[in-house]
Subunit: 145 residues, 2 copies
DNA sequence: TTACTTGCAAAGGCTTTGCATCGCC
DNA sequence: GGCGATGCAAAGCCTTTGCAAGTAA
């Protein structure tokens, strides 16, 4: 079930988004969604846990994983991999990709990847129906050069 | 017999490749490289192990991981992730990407992704120096539709 | 011989699961 | 109250590592 994020862009996402997704509103979930909102780079489970701790929430690691599972299922967040042996997550919504600096780890967004043209071509030539794709660039960022 | 001659030729290639890379030529390495050569889809550690067993090699799992590490280091293979919670590997060389069927798991190659133009643009606009990139498409293949 | 390679065993990191309890609606 | 959410503990995968023994060059 997919929920529009744009609609909440200028108000408090968390509670409304949870309700709209037919999920119970708990502290951990609110704070976690708020964290996704404010973070600029895709976050991992450890960082979510750390943020919850900062808000005096002793949420269990298993709960975080289950939360992520639920959010993924509802289309609230998307999963990414940067070759670290773990997943990262960010709020779903805009079709964008990342420049990952292999030196300092900073992540910059790039948008408008224009890959829809590709997907059409793939459908025509290969008869393969693209559901989603991953596109990330790895290298050295401006300040690390 | 023709088949075994072909295979012998393959093994020679494996040995040559290893020597070029200044690696000692061992049975496990030869057979593994042969496996990478003959496989059409990126393989995981389990599949490499299984192939080694078929060739009566009781190679340890740790050895396979170390082999992979060495091959990656020498640029013989490249590492891929398809969101499975594990890595896959394939012979390095051509710049191509994959159509991964989420139903049957089949992997098809697509080439000429024309992303070099992108990398130039990224360098100009963001001053980010791209070293490598990942691009995979996930969806439903022709025969699964 | 010498340095690289391997086997074995253990551990490490990330993620999932079973089950009883808790708490939002 | 009911059903979904959570905590706790354990286990499941994938991968890495230390060390001693083996082996290609």
């Amino acid at each position: 079930m997919q929920v529009s994020r744009v609609r909440f862009a200028f108000m408090q996402l968390s509670a409304q988004l949870l309700q709209q997704s037919q999920l119970k509103v708990t502290n951990a979930r609110k704070v976690a969604i708020h964290f996704f909102e404010k973070e600029e780079r895709p976050v991992d489970v450890e960082e979510i846990l750390f943020h919850l701790r900062k808000h005096k929430l002793a949420t269990d690691r298993a709960t975080v994983y289950r939360m992520i599972d639920t959010f993924l299922d509802r289309g609230i967040i998307t999963r990414l991999e940067f070759g670290e042996g773990k997943y990262r997550y960010e709020l779903a919504g805009s079709d964008h990709h990342h420049l990952v600096c292999e030196n300092c780890g900073r992540v910059e967004d790039i948008s408008d990847c224009g890959i829809e043209a590709w997907e059409k071509k793939i459908k025509q030539k290969k008869h393969f129906l693209v559901k989603h794709h991953s596109l990330e660039f790895f290298g050295i960022c401006k300040s690390c050069q």
